[in-house]
């Protein structure tokens, strides 16, 4: 087959800032940059409003103190650090806790309509690891409310939105980022963006796993592009396996059952009818942190006390139909429509699902800038905020706080440096070649087959519980996958061709998968979202460092460690003592 790109044709757009990703983080960044007078382009792989943020269910954490007046940023900060097992970038955790309430108020001003307390304020619900009832919510579709509010604000902010365009490479002028290369999904035609600064807001890497709550978009494009451009990936071994994904039917295996079910009083039982969290975390029970609950479920299943489809039981029916329909309407319908289970009448079967990527691109806390000048990252694609384990509800607030900061950071950077947006033709031609070579290969495999096997492998060998031997096997297996992906074959044209899209994304998934496996091998301890069967305890050394992966000159992956930022004494003092237990939902 002839290469459809023998002469590279492309369209060019120029902006001060290019934001890649239109979830909560990207939209908030774009709104901020635009408000500061910058010309902003916003690109996303799907239609506007369909990013992952739309799926968030349970709520957005912010210490408004509307329900528990004792709450404040200091407690939120402490809870976040404890939840992250102290590997968090403390400065990010601090800024997040301090600024989240204002970001919520701003959303209200822009039209968000949260559920209310009896005295007419925003209602807040309890969630695992949060001392107080803290999650602002709208039933169980909080993400929809947030993304729609930002989207409606965004369309009146003078943004240039490029929907259904995929960025495949960041482009540089010397050391600095000066643009990005991509294609329109619809036509397959190439598009080049020139920009003085680029903000990555591309989300996570969950599609590298078989059982996941993540959509096709989560192929780690942002992480991999940043890595190729010279940025560092940090803490990639920390993957959040959410305790409650659906386990049946197969088609929806992994689909999320929101933590709000437990927040609203849901109880976990094994096949013997035991509330097994009593043995694991008798104080917090079901509202323990996600890493602990997931491991507990895993153990019940492994030891033969699981439910018929390989999970455990989650029961909220004791709260009564009226309450459930008001507070968890989406879950009621989801379980009824997809699994024939009426949760107002009896338990549902659930099990852990790959949910959130704590690791990602290493950034500076205040500005969100990466190691590469002009390249910023915010939201799930950025690392540091959540350390080794994210608390539920802390992502939506993270998007708002650091999305805004990314817009601001890009503005300051441009003001201080007035960087050029030069791009060389060779670099553009190389970027085009990289994504079209799969049309030249007639002998390679179908991308779907490779993807499925990669997912099976990652699930089996780099899943919830890991061992040295299996991680070695995984790293070895990834070499094989790399050879297969290099030779992948794509049929059809470049016009809206999902097979082609997947072939390109596979390469990104491989980079992320390798970083996860290598960092997991390096960290010989268990902490948060990283569990080593052969090293089940915390290790003092590993309490003091983050993992980093970066690309070597020869293209191979270097994995190492960097010391944590030293935390000031007054913040350390805030973290003393145990995390409190929230009162039940009002």
């Amino acid at each position: 087959m002839t290469n459809p790109t023998s002469n590279v044709a492309y369209e060019t757009h120029e902006h001060d800032v290019l934001v890649i990703g239109a979830g909560g983080a990207g939209l908030r960044a774009a709104i901020e940059a635009s408000a500061l007078g910058l010309k902003v382009g916003l690109v996303c792989k799907s239609l506007l409003g369909k990013a992952h943020t739309v799926m968030a269910e349970g709520g957005c954490a912010a210490s408004m103190g509307y329900v528990d007046s004792a709450d404040g940023w200091k407690t939120h900060f402490k809870d976040t650090m404890h939840g992250g097992k102290f590997l968090n970038n403390f400065r990010m955790a601090q800024l997040h806790a301090q600024e989240a309430p204002e970001r919520i108020r701003e959303l209200e001003r822009w039209g968000a309509v949260f559920d209310r307390t009896p005295d007419g304020k925003i209602s807040q619900r309890p969630f695992g690891g949060h001392t107080y009832r803290r999650l602002c919510h709208v039933g169980d579709h909080t993400g929809l409310e947030i993304i729609r509010t930002l989207q409606d604000k965004g369309v009146h902010s003078g943004l240039d939105v490029y929907m259904e365009a995929t960025i495949t490479d960041l482009l540089k002028d010397g050391d600095r980022v000066s643009g990005a290369f991509g294609y329109w999904r619809e036509s397959g035609r190439f598009v080049v963006f020139k920009a003085k600064a680029v903000i990555l807001a591309t989300g996570g890497i969950g599609r590298a796993y078989k059982i996941t709550s993540n959509s096709w978009e989560y192929s780690g494009d942002g992480d991999a592009m940043a890595y190729r451009a010279g940025a560092e990936l940090m803490d990639m071994e920390f993957i959040q396996f959410h305790p409650t994904g659906m386990v049946w039917p197969n088609g929806v295996r992994g689909l999320l059952v929101t933590e709000a079910v437990r927040g609203e009083g849901g109880r976990l039982y094994n096949a013997l009818g035991e509330r097994f969290m009593e043995k694991v975390d008798p104080k917090r029970m079901e509202l323990s942190t996600r890493d602990i609950v997931s491991k507990a479920i895993n153990k019940e299943v492994k030891e033969g006390r699981g439910s018929p489809h390989g999970g455990v039981f989650l029961d909220i029916s004791h709260r009564g139909a009226e309450y459930i329909l008001k507070k968890l309407p989406g879950m009621y319908r989801q379980l009824l429509e997809f699994a024939d289970v009426d949760i107002t009448k009896g338990p549902m079967e659930i099990g852990p699902t790959t949910h959130y990527t704590m690791g990602g691109v290493r950034v500076e806390a205040e500005s969100t800038m990466t190691k590469v000048p002009g390249l910023f990252a915010a939201g799930e694609v950025a690392a540091g905020m959540h350390g080794a384990n994210r608390l539920g509800g802390n992502s939506l607030s993270d998007l708002l706080v650091f999305g805004r900061r990314a817009g601001l950071g890009a503005y300051e950077y441009i003001k201080a440096n007035n960087p050029s947006t030069n791009l060389s033709e060779e670099v553009i031609a190389a970027a085009a070649k990289r994504v079209t070579k799969c049309f030249d290969s007639d002998s390679g495999e179908n991308p779907y087959t490779i993807h499925k096997e990669l997912q099976d492998m990652m699930q089996a060998k780099v899943g919830i519980v890991r061992t040295e031997a299996e991680l070695h096997e995984a790293i070895e297996a990834l070499k094989g996958f790399r050879a297969r992906v290099a030779n992948v074959s794509v049929t059809g044209s470049r016009q809206f061709n999902p097979g082609w899209h997947l072939a390109i994304e596979l390469e990104n998934m491989l980079t992320c998968a390798e970083a996860v496996a290598r960092c997991a091998l390096q960290r010989t301890e268990s902490r948060g979202g990283h569990t080593r069967e052969d090293h089940p305890e915390y290790h003092p050394h590993w309490s003091t460092v983050n993992s980093v992966a970066s690309q070597d000159q020869d293209g191979s992956m270097n994995v190492g460690e960097i010391p944590l930022l030293p935390m000031p004494e007054e913040l350390k003092a805030l973290c003393e003592g145990e995390v409190g237990i929230p009162k039940p939902a009002a």
Binding site: S46, L48, G49, V54, M55, R105, E108, R109, W110, G111, V113, D115, R116, D119, G120, K121, V138, G139, H141, L144, E145, R148, D152, K153, V155, H156, M163, E186, S215, W216, E217, P249, N250, G251, V252, L255, L256, R333, Q334, L336, E337, F338, A339, D340, V341, D342, N446, P447, Y448, T449, K452, V490, T491, G492, Q495, F496, N497, P498, G499, W500
Partner: protein
Amino acid sequence: MACSHPTNAPHPKANSASTTIKGGTKAVAEGTVATFSVYRGTAESGEMKTYQVPVAEGMVVLDAVHHMQANDAPDLAARWNCKAAKCGSCSAEINGKPSLMCKTRMDALPLDEPITITPMKAFPVLKDLVTDVSWNYRVNERITPFTPKSDDTDNWTLYQEDVERVQEFRKCIECFLCQDVCHVIRNHDKKNDFYGPRFMVRLASLDMHPLDTVDRLQAIKEEAGVGFCNITKCCTEVCPEHIHITDNAIIPLKERVADRYFDPIGKLKGALGLNKSRK
């Protein structure tokens, strides 16, 4: 007037294929293979192609599409994201009925005849099941955003009962199925005159927000063209979020427009600018 389903559906059984799922409808026998007839092509040319897909327990139509992509048609274009009826990406017409593919279970469809999947008819086809829905985004841009009385949210008091009806409208996932089914858009292509049910819902959510200060009636009547709706309720029937589009959004808007513009006292008040304080 009752909703009569799209008349130009490609499949004769269009009206009998119900996609309402009431837990545990019927079990599909093991080894069952379903036949699909799927639109492949662009706006200019295309054809219905046949695919065979083994049916598994609890399977939805989107699973079948993924099976076709992985095995027979790697370049079959379809949109999806959440696979949980939350994002509104996977809209198409299944046996002629506008539906979410991720929410339509195979055990709710008759399997003795081919199941047709075609793109939404009201929008131009880009490729296969993917349509150009950009018109909807342009309509949204024309709507004046929420404009509250004051920015001091700490002093806002909003009770749950005050926001309940607005919250119903804000559940919209922008699947555009209501736009697809509405005959004003689908059969009469009045895209220049009528915003369609999705944006009637959005206008209602703003108009009924207790703190919004904009008088939107003129826009609802003129630019949005609320009068084009003749209350067939087809939109309400297809809405996967079960929003009472007609009863709770459109009819109240129509009534307010009628009060203002067609009732002599309302007209007078409008002329004197007295309606703005209604909220």
